[in-house]
Amino acid sequence: MTIHNKIVFITDADSKSGKAILHQLVSEGAHFILNSPSNGEEIRLDLEQCHAAGSKTVVINIDLCNRSELDATLEQTAQQLGTVNVLVHNNNLVKPASVEYCEEDVFFEILNANTKTAFVCTQSIGKQMIAQQSGRIIYVSSIHAEKPTGSSFAYSASKGAVKLLASEAALFLGRHGITINTIEMGPVEGDNIAFESTFSSLYDSYEYKVPNAILGTYEDLASLVVYLASDESRYLNGAVIRLDGGFLNHYMDHRMKEPAVLEGGTP
């Protein structure tokens, strides 16, 4: 899919989404700059697989809110690997934050992790891409850029802000041959815990609210990232793709697909 030898920057390589994206892009022949908060420790095996497959990797561990640190790092990685062709912003800090009781430091922790890093990366890597007059920026966001969580206003506000960053960047950077698209990821296993809420019943029986009663996986996400990173998606710009199996279309509980009955046993 024309990703061969492209340089991909992943903002959180240690996360489950980061690993899945890394694996699928390795098989497409990409090379990587991986921001790893564990300094590569959490992705040791993944790095070995990259090397075995012939993918070059540079592991960094920097604060992506710090523009000058990122600029300096990109100068170095440009020497080592080349300039960035694809930015995958997949930072996703989920923490409870109620409107009534949240503290200021938690608000900023979430906003900085999810939004400020997206803005700073877009500025810094966007400059490199403008010099090349090409590039792909992919924000891995959430259905909560649209649907409230009932558990963390700071999280959904942080993703709501990224949604508008994407639409502005699609104009600013779009004029330089760069495309910017957003994936609004729906429920994966464990999201009912991450977004546990006393105000919203969204995640009650959440797996059955997906019409086909199958939860999404990070592999589903990675597959869409590969498409958006490729030349095949050249006319997609400023798009928001909801990847939730139809979860947000759910309305009637009694219509939900029941769990399949296993042979000789209970569901």
């Binding site: 009534e100 906003l111 400020k116 803005f119 409230p148 709501g160 960053l165 639409s167 502005e168």
Partner: protein
């Protein structure tokens, strides 16, 4: 639409849309707390306009991005009037910096005022409103909470954040009888009252071109004009009234149809 005797705190009421809202709420009988940060003369003018209507108001200086300021402001409203019925979150920054000219500190400043400021004011009024099990929070956002400006990325981002914060506030505060709704004005003519701290985003020649283009765009608006503060104020009064008990988490586009083009 009975607003007589209700107490309304309007942030950024020294200029532009905020001033229009404060005066209109007063005209309909609300007691007003006029918040301003820098527009001292503007706040006094708002008060004078309210006095002409024989209305009641107090002026409170506070920077909504500073938590202690917000807490002091809300306490002052309560101490003076004994209640707070309506909060209009309106004070916001629009710096119009070019995309690459925003640095980390300016990012923080924009987020602190436009997003954190709205939240902090909301958080600060909740204890007073929940005592009465009724309250109206009205967030003034923008059509740019859903559509880019093509000239101020950070402004748009904060408005995208406000949209979600309003939806979250609506479901969380419903149990206290507090409704939270958002108004998305399009272009509003605020005359020369705006205290906008703006850096030219383009050269003077380009600025002239942009002005020309904007005027051309405005002429094409379906209703033949841009909005006025009074348009926004009228909708604020409706949302603030008792007639909207079941409306919460709504965002109402108020742009004369311009975003449909």
């Amino acid at each position: 639409m009975n607003l007589v005797g209700k107490v309304a705190l309007v942030t950024g009421a020294g200029t532009g849309i905020g001033k229009g809202i404060a005066v209109e709420l007063a005209r309909r009988g609300c007691k007003i707390a006029i918040n301003y940060n820098q527009s001292d003369a503007g706040a006094r003018d708002t008060k004078a306009q309210i006095e002409e209507l024989h209305g009641e108001s107090i002026i409170i200086q506070a920077n909504i991005s500073v938590k202690t300021d917000v807490e002091r402001m809300v306490k002052q409203v309560f101490d003076h009037y004994g209640t707070i019925d309506i909060l209009v979150n309106n004070a916001a920054l629009q710096l119009n910096f070019d995309f690459f000219d925003y640095d980390g500190a300016t990012f923080d400043r924009m987020m602190s005022t436009n997003l954190k400021g709205y939240w902090q004011c909301t958080q600060a009024v909740v204890p007073y409103m929940k005592q009465k099990q009724i309250g109206r929070i009205i967030n003034i956002s923008s059509v740019h909470s859903k559509r880019p400006t093509d000239f101020d990325t950070l402004y748009t981002m904060t408005k995208g954040g406000i949209l979600m914060m309003s939806r979250e506030s609506a479901i969380e505060l419903a149990k206290y009888g507090i409704t939270v709704n958002t108004i998305e004005p399009g272009a509003v003519d605020v005359g020369k009252q705006s205290a906008r701290e703006s850096k030219p985003i383009v050269s003077p020649e380009d600025a002239a071109k942009m002005k020309q283009e904007v005027n051309k765009i405005f002429k094409k608006f379906p209703m033949g004009r841009v909005g006025r503060p009074a348009d926004v104020a009228s909708l604020v009064c409706y949302i603030a009234s008792d007639e909207t008990q079941f409306m919460t988490g709504a965002s109402i586009r108020l742009d004369g149809g311009s975003m449909l083009l």
